[in-house]
Symmetry: D3
Subunit: 134 residues, 6 copies
């Protein structure tokens, strides 16, 4: 079980650029996915065609950011021992990034799809924080 | 005084794209600034010219991201009533973004400069979370 | 009153990247805002849904560029003494960037909104050129 | 001598954007990786510090493009049945993108590292074309 | 059936970044143009307004990439002697990039327009490969 | 002969995005080239390796922007009748963009190279303003 956020020391948070600096945080993907959910809700609540077009433009960008942040975690943070310990981790990331793409949050403006994406990110986040405390 | 993170309901977190979706989070700027600090420390600890050049390339990008995330908060999240309640808020953002630029984290590879940037972001973050709970 | 453009020596124009190089010019924001106005006019004059969608896509990008160019001026060009001399300068930039965002040129395809954005940029430009000649 | 273009059937090439359009081609990653190899060779052959710094700047960008093109193939092109048929495919992509990153072509200016990256991309390419002809 | 990769000599392929690395390949523009054609076909075949908006968003990006890849070939690969030997080369590139823009693949979702763009790229490609073998 | 800037009505300035909006202005390329010149001067005047590396990083970006702004003018603004009237216009743009690239302002940190680039842009600008008044 993942420890609540407030019990995870901030100094553990490290590297997300590709020097690598060692600062990674699944919050980056989560924040963009929360944005997607809010966009989808506002899209559904509106009947203004200009607003709806703008919502789709921005949702496309946010979903691309979700994919990028998840790809970075998958390639740059997680190492061979992690993939051995969590054998479904590859599949989890593949499904999560697919859920941010055409078959998920890009292709759909349904807030429920965004919820499923958020749930996948939460699963990844849980594993991430477990590995940080190992 | 800012409430500890674990007491701030997640549903309050909202909008950071410019629909607006209503999801903003100063953590975006903070994570990039933590990356800058780690880059600066690795830069100082290394004598490999290739590594040091790469650190400067990446630090430049991360510092630009800090500026961008802060600018978004300043323009898109904070409204006139906030600026009335916190009269130094304009100056605070102006100084924070300057600290991420040429006169700060871009121009210097000193981890202490990154610390000052992180402190400014923390000040902004504190005000941000106060306004979220108002 | 701002001096007409042809009386402002070109050698005064300086710095807009973050070395800093010292070449700044509010014309960068103005050209993008003029583009937004033209896009809005063409949007209103057209009934072709493909054309209108493309106009919204491009307007979104141009408005983001306006925000970026203004943010760079606010953070990188203007210094503490400027903000003392022009106490409303923070508010002016905050309003101008808001006018380029969701509550302005991004959120609306009304050419009149683009006109208001252009007027704000002109106010900034006037102060900018005054400070270049001081 | 190069074989004439008209002998390579065009209809096999398909989809790489996230509509999805259905046009994917590992050549995109390969071309960037060939660029990295050439950059590394020129870097090693030069003693001009300006040239070498520019080579590192550009290599960083090209390596990021390799990662991106590979991530797109992994998430958007390959589906569950492919991963069942090629059980090492996840690992192959994870290793290939790591080889384009800090532990590979980003972190090293050794042409031999670029060769290893090219070999990984060739492995992926082989599987890709097998699946296209199935 | 596709010809095996090993029959197309790799050493002919050269430079596309601006070090320059010497690796250029018109395939980069062609792949994006094929994507545009597929997008246009899917756009025409769909009556879902969300899907159609997404197709226009992505087509705009792909068309910009076509322009960029062609501009790089025109400026960075082709030299004065090439323009002497192929006097219509300037016009060919100018027309091809226009065909990727507002008067072509950006402005139209007609697959036939994408076909004309592909034909222009093929003309450029033919000349490109002639010069590589000279 | 080109009319001085102050005699060219602002309403003539039009289109630079690819809707097209009709707002073009060679000032965009010129401002970036002025930045390159300033960067080169500061590079030559400094002996600080960090500062010099940063100058090269930023110069690379600015030179890319010069190329982009010029390419947009060449493809999107200038039409067949212009190329007939100014037969050297293709060559002028090809040389100008080459001067912003590896064989010019990217490859060299010599301010004199930036001056040659600025002179080419001025030649283009002169023709541009002639055609706006025709």
């Amino acid at each position: 079980m993942r420890l609540p956020r407030f019990l995870t020391p901030r100094t553990l948070v490290s590297a997300h650029c590709d020097l690598p600096c060692g600062v990674y945080d699944p919050a980056q993907a989560r924040i963009e996915a929360e944005s997607i959910k809010a966009l989808a809700e506002k899209y559904q609540a509106s009947s203004d065609p200009e607003f709806r077009t703008r919502a789709l433009i921005i949702k496309e960008q946010r979903a691309e950011l979700v994919k990028h942040h998840l790809w970075v975690l998958w390639t740059d943070y997680f190492k061979a021992p992690h993939f051995e310990k969590y054998p479904h981790l590859h599949t989890l990331f593949n499904e999560a990034t697919k859920l941010a793409g055409a078959g998920g949050a890009k292709g759909s403006a349904d807030p429920e799809v965004a919820d499923r994406l958020l749930a996948k990110i939460e699963e990844i986040s849980k594993i991430f924080w477990e590995t940080k405390q190992a």
